[in-house]
């Protein structure tokens, strides 16, 4: 019975891996399928799953920064109203030169997702037309959702301490100094890092 529940999900994986080279996929659970593919195949895979496999609803598009592995991961999350299955199409993009083709001609709302990812991660979508700014205004720093964007450094550079807060210390240190007691071990675990 458990295997019966995943028949339609497995069929989707088999059909995609039989159609596209180097595409790997798996059934995560009932109603959840995940495939990984090279970035150059993304437009073809997305068009195929929309037109041939009934994945007509674009639920979400996300980006994950795997800084230590030197790549970004783009995830396109689709839903088939007929099959009632959620499909995650994943691809990796090199962090040094993050470029991938724009796909908002397949789903118009991808224009918004791609604009935000371009702004927040610095990924270039070839052929993407749209206003440069989505959320940030006059931003010329590193794309801020990147893992190596130093938020503490940015705050120190851009904002000034309020008068009376100059040299404001960690509140635990202030309490320890005033009370003459050591900072307890438990409080030390609440690190800022």
């Amino acid at each position: 019975m458990t295997e019966d529940k995943h028949i339609k999900e497995q069929k989707i994986v088999d059909q995609l891996s039989g159609t596209f080279q180097n595409l790997t996929g798996k059934v995560k659970r009932e109603r959840r399928v995940e495939v990984s593919v090279e970035k150059k195949l993304i437009p073809s895979v997305l068009s195929y799953v929309k037109d041939q496999l009934t994945f007509t609803h674009m639920s979400h598009m996300s980006c994950v920064d795997w800084l230590e592995d030197e790549h970004f991961e783009l995830v396109y999350i689709l839903w088939s109203p007929e099959l009632k299955v959620q499909l995650l199409v994943k691809t990796l993009i090199n962090r040094e030169n993050p470029v991938i083709e724009n796909v908002d001609m397949i789903w118009g709302q991808l224009n918004t997702y791609q604009r935000e990812i371009r702004e927040m991660y610095g990924i270039q979508f070839t052929g993407l037309v749209g206003r440069e700014e989505f959320v940030l205004e006059d931003w010329d720093e590193m794309p801020p959702m990147r893992r190596d964007f130093d938020t503490a450094e940015y705050i120190k550079d851009v904002f000034f301490e309020r008068p009376g807060r100059d040299g404001a210390k960690d509140v635990r240190e202030v309490i320890a100094t005033r009370s003459g007691e050591e900072i307890p071990e438990l409080a030390k675990k609440y690190s800022r890092d």
Binding site: S59, H60, V75, I77, L88
Partner: protein
């Protein structure tokens, strides 16, 4: 001298008709909109970046603040995503309580919508009633969770505490009251000729393009699609409840209003069923020491049917004690940007706010 045909108007970010802090740049010829552009950025609080530097339990306290009108789907989605990646079971009673919270949250959100939709048409009596009635639900939330709007109650493993004594009786009294109020809402709003004339034929979404455009929730159901995450991708205990997913064919503001009105009644019925059938038991599968709690590497996409439509969370763990990525996608990300820009073409300036309310445009969830 050439006469300029089109004028540019800025609706927001400070405007009584705007549904939150966002701006819609309108190019108009006379009173008719020829182009609309959504501009956001006034409400970006950087939640997703914040969560990358907070542990899994600390992040749970942040997620409810992402959406102002309906915070609970955020808590639920975050908890479910973490549970799915970790493989954590949730006690059955907790699932029933979560469902109760979700339906009360839906009712509160619809009451706010009644206010906004009518306020933007000039029917100001309605917001006075519905926002006042919403307070009775907020009182219930305050009793249950300690907070009126932001609850921090649904967390990974279950819910924070069981129902207080006598709580279910007070919930049922509130449902009886709201059901009676619905009759008054019908008289004031739905049977109101002026409201009908304002709403019919306005803000039309082409049903042939609705799914492709990413329309979800009441606007999709008002276009004739029986689409609801609670039945399409079941979660919690909705498969044990008896409810109808209403649809309309008009695909305009009027149709969307009728869908919401029917769903309001359905939610009242569901709350009564939940209280009648809720089993006894534990409400929390306790997590380990939160300072040392790590989630195995993996990812999950979970979604819930909020009052405005499909609300999704994509959560990624790298095996550590903090989320690698939490990416929130509310319905307004599409409804308030590309869909709104499309639907406003050809609309009258006086209908902009009316249409925005009918689409459930919610700026906090667009930019998080």
């Amino acid at each position: 001298m050439m006469r300029e045909k089109a004028t540019t108007l800025y609706l927001g970010p400070q405007h009584p008709g705007i549904t939150g802090n966002m701006m819609v740049k309108l190019k108009v010829e006379g009173d008719t909109i020829v182009k609309a552009e959504t501009h956001v950025g006034y409400l970006h609080r950087g939640f997703e970046k914040l969560m990358e530097r907070r542990n899994w339990l600390q992040s749970f306290t942040i997620v409810c603040r992402i959406c102002v009108p309906e915070p609970d789907p955020n808590e639920l989605n975050y908890a479910r995503a973490v549970e799915e990646i970790e493989g954590r079971e949730v006690p059955e009673r907790a699932e029933w309580i979560r469902t109760l919270v979700m339906e009360l949250s839906r009712l509160a959100s619809y009451l706010l919508w009644f206010g906004g939709q009518n306020g933007s048409a000039g029917l100001y009596t309605m917001p006075q009633w519905s926002v006042g009635d919403r307070d009775y639900i907020l009182d219930l939330f305050e009793e249950l969770t300690g907070g009126r709007v932001y609850h921090m109650y649904i967390w990974p493993g279950g819910v924070r505490r069981d129902l207080p004594e006598g709580f279910t009786g007070r919930v049922l009294q509130t449902m009886d009251y709201l059901e009676k109020q619905l009759i008054k809402y019908d008289q004031l709003m739905f049977e109101n000729t002026i409201f009908q004339k304002r709403a019919k034929g306005i803000g039309w979404i082409d049903p042939a393009k609705a799914i492709e455009w990413g329309v979800v929730g009441p606007p999709l159901r008002a276009a004739g699609f029986k689409s609801d995450v609670r039945i399409d991708d079941p979660y919690l205990i909705y498969d044990k409840l008896d409810f109808v997913v209403p649809t309309q064919k008009g695909s305009d503001v009027w149709a969307r209003s009728l869908v919401r009105r029917e769903e309001f009644q359905q939610s009242i019925n569901m709350v009564r069923q939940i209280i009648d059938k809720m089993p006894a038991g534990e409400v929390y599968n306790k997590i380990p020491n939160p300072m040392k709690w790590t989630i195995p590497a993996g990812d999950a996409y979970v979604k819930a049917e909020s009052a405005r439509g499909e609300f999704g969370y994509y959560v990624v763990s790298d095996g550590g004690n903090k989320p690698r990525r939490v990416h929130v996608k509310g319905p307004a990300y599409v409804h308030g940007v590309t869909l709104l820009e499309e639907v406003l073409k050809g609309a009258n300036i006086s209908d902009v706010s009316f249409i925005m309310n009918s689409l459930g445009t919610c700026p906090p969830e667009i930019e998080r």
